[in-house]
Amino acid sequence: MTLTKQVAKTIERVLASGDKPLYNRLYSYAMALVRNADDAYELTQQALKAACERANKNEAPMREPIVERSVERWLFKQVYFAALNLWRERRLQRIRLVTILPVELGDLADDGLMEDRFAERDALRGAMVQLPPRQGTCLYLRVVERMLYAEIAELLDIAEVNVRVHVCRARKTMKRLLEYPPRASPEDSSEAPPDIC
């Protein structure tokens, strides 16, 4: 079997596998990153298209050996990079004319980011949005995708110990923002230990 066929077969298999097909998981991940259904769909498309293009070019989208898990990880990485590009693009679009002038004088239209930020009503999403992007991404990949710290580290190109710190901080922040129950009862203790993580 040629490399192209191998990769194509692997892609087809990962796309069709289980009750949670990979495209849905990629889409879900993209949604967590960009919080917009249209953008998430675009990112998913971009990642899958990049994989198909590499398959057609007779190149493996990841290092040998081609296994489903590595195809998956590669695709998640593509979504992450595409989201980074999107963020960068959007942030730069916010630069307007000359900063000493009212923004509306150089403005054509808003890109909707602010509304997205302000209109957040759902407490859980609201808390997730407040996390720094790295922490939110690490928490998502760990909790929803059940990835190992080593896999997350490889995907985000950071050290494993940093993943551990990001996940830990993300959970603590989420707990604080959501004021998650257990507030200790008087007989247990009145206050939580200070944050030393």
Partner: protein, 556 residues
């Protein structure tokens, strides 16, 4: 307060020691030793057990909430796309959703076989934009033309009227200008009038109003399709107009300018002066976004000439463009100020200060803002502060997301004026007075930075940083602010924002001068001056130029 003493008997097993491990315990990534320690502690500590339960509850909620699913239609479409991408001839057939070039559009049939072309086009578009808008019946046969017309009556009648919507909020809630053809019968009676193009344009206009990247892409495609077929000149004008708006929204300013240039030529060819005015205005906005200030000024002036011509001719389209004239005057004044033409800027502001402007709070705020800048640049600090405070009050009275950014930027301008006062007092050795001004500036800078950070206005944040550095330098002259200013310089270089770069270099010069490194400071001012000359923002050259003149006077 720490947990109860009974749990702190052994230091290695206190809640405080183990608490950082709780959030990641269930991940199974702790060492065996750590896991054993934590589990042993959990058996005796109800407080930590509850903490652990809370983290587990958060995990469950996140896993449930964020595992979203694609809609079945999208999933189906994606599968089809993947099948296409994996096919051997995928390179030629794979559609690219982000491709703006007309080459990506399918070949369209000639008008002679319109019904079939319409049917295939409609099929195509429905596939691509199924959930974005209502499409007319797709199963078109011989009578498709009349069916399309019946299905979209609104697209035919008002097709001469394109509404330019921008969220600038300058006109209250939403500013609208109108590209209007005074003689709609001329268009529909034209032998080249295309109902299919009318339908494309109608849907493109609707898509353009959506605040979504995907909708703008689709609007651009529809306009490009319209341009690729034979249609009436007025339809072509509108298609160019929509294509330019869509390109601008998608961030392709050069492409947008090219469309507007074509549209300007066409509007002159068909003697549509009102359309010409709007297009010149749009071109000026695009220029100003690309920091081409002198081009923006000339396009604003062209727009005003065209508007005056409409008014003189009693053109009925002018009535709809009344607000546009006011808006253009304000924008022109701001750009003239940037070019250093203060007297023209003031005369443009005087033209804008009509009774109507007072009814439009954002216009009035922009006028006062520009006045504040001019007065500050002329060294009249008291009126400058008064204008800035008035503008602040107007922004406080309104509450929209865009205004938050402007308001935050205005706070920085106000803080800068207050710091000018503080600097004057400092130089006159009136330190108590200077301290009062510094106290006044502090909340302005703090709230502005917080707003700008929250609204992700990165460029505004850099301006706030420069103002913060200035405030800190006046307060304590010992700190090293170079890393902060270098950060702003790097950002401005990365974005190619020359006015900001010039401001940052000027700030660096001031910092060096404050440290007594006079020669380096003068060199820095020269670099700033050079950068600002390239940027066209001549007004900003005032500060480094003054510093250089002062240095020359002192050496003389």
């Amino acid at each position: 307060m720490s947990p109860p003493d009974k749990y702190a008997s052994a230091p290695s097993q206190t809640c405080r020691d183990l608490e950082p491990l709780l959030p990641i315990l269930r991940d199974g990534e702790l060492s065996d030793e750590e896991t054993t320690r934590v589990q042993a502690h959990l058996e005796i500590c109800p407080w930590c057990r509850r903490e652990l339960e809370a983290y587990e509850a958060i995990d469950q909620a996140v896993a449930k909430r964020f595992a979203v699913q694609m809609s079945p239609e999208r999933a189906l479409k994606l599968r089809e796309l993947i099948a296409g991408w994996l096919s051997p001839d995928a390179t030629s057939t794979a559609p690219r959703t982000d491709d703006l070039s007309d080459d990506a559009l399918p070949e369209l049939a000639e008008d002679s076989d319109l019904p079939e072309a319409a049917a295939s086009d409609l099929d195509d578009i429905q596939d691509a934009e199924e959930d974005c808008y209502q499409v007319p019946p797709v199963n078109c046969s011989g009578s498709s033309l009349s069916r399309i017309q019946r299905a979209t009556p609104a697209s035919v009648a008002p097709m001469h009227r394109v509404r330019l919507q921008h969220i600038g909020d300058v006109m209250g809630s939403v500013a609208l200008a109108t590209l209007e053809n005074p003689d709609d019968s001329a268009m529909t009676s034209s032998h080249e009038y295309s109902p299919l193009a009318a339908w494309y344009l109608s849907n493109a206009r609707r898509l353009l109003r959506d605040a979504s990247h995907r909708s703008w892409l689709q609007a651009h495609r529809l306009a490009a399709r319209c341009l690729s077929r034979r249609s009436a000149q007025e339809q072509r004008l509108q298609a160019l107009f929509i294509a330019s708006r869509a390109s601008a929204l998608l961030g392709d300013a050069e492409q947008a300018c090219a469309y507007v240039d074509d549209a300007l030529d066409l509007s002159l060819a068909i003697a549509d002066i009102a359309a010409f005015a709007e297009l010149a205005y749009l071109h000026a906005l695009l220029d100003s976004r690309a920091q081409r200030i002198s081009e923006a000024v000339s396009h604003f002036e062209m727009a005003l000439d065209a508007l005056n011509s409409c008014a003189e001719r009693g053109d009925r389209a002018y009535r709809a463009l009344g607000d546009l004239s006011l808006d253009t005057h304000v924008r022109l004044a701001a750009h003239q100020f940037l070019l250093g033409d203060y007297s023209s800027a003031q005369s443009s502001l005087a033209q804008a200060e009509q009774p109507l402007a007072t009814q439009l709070p954002m216009i009035a705020a922009s006028i006062e803002w520009t006045h504040a800048l001019i007065e500050r640049w002329r060294g009249n600090l008291t009126p400058a502060l008064q204008y800035a405070l008035n503008a602040n009050a107007r922004y406080e009275a309104t509450d929209t997301a865009v205004n938050h950014i402007s308001h935050a930027r205005l706070r920085i301008i106000t803080a800068d004026i207050v710091l000018d006062f503080a600097e004057q007092a400092h130089q006159a050795a009136q330190f108590t007075r200077s301290g009062r001004f510094l106290m006044l500036a502090q909340p302005l800078i703090r709230t502005a930075r917080s707003y700008l950070h929250d609204t992700m206005d990165v460029a505004g944040e850099q301006l706030a940083l420069l103002c913060f550095v200035r405030w800190r330098r006046l307060q304590t002259q010992t700190d090293d602010f170079r890393p902060i200013i270098e950060h702003v310089i790097r950002f401005a270089e990365r974005c190619g924002d020359l006015p900001l770069l010039g401001q940052a270099l000027t700030a660096m010069g001031q910092d060096l001068a404050a440290r007594g490194e006079d020669e380096s400071a003068l060199n820095m001012y020269r670099v700033a001056l050079d950068t600002l000359t390239r940027s066209q923002a001549q007004a900003l050259q005032v500060w480094p130029r003054r510093a250089l003149l002062r240095a020359q006077e002192m050496s003389a």
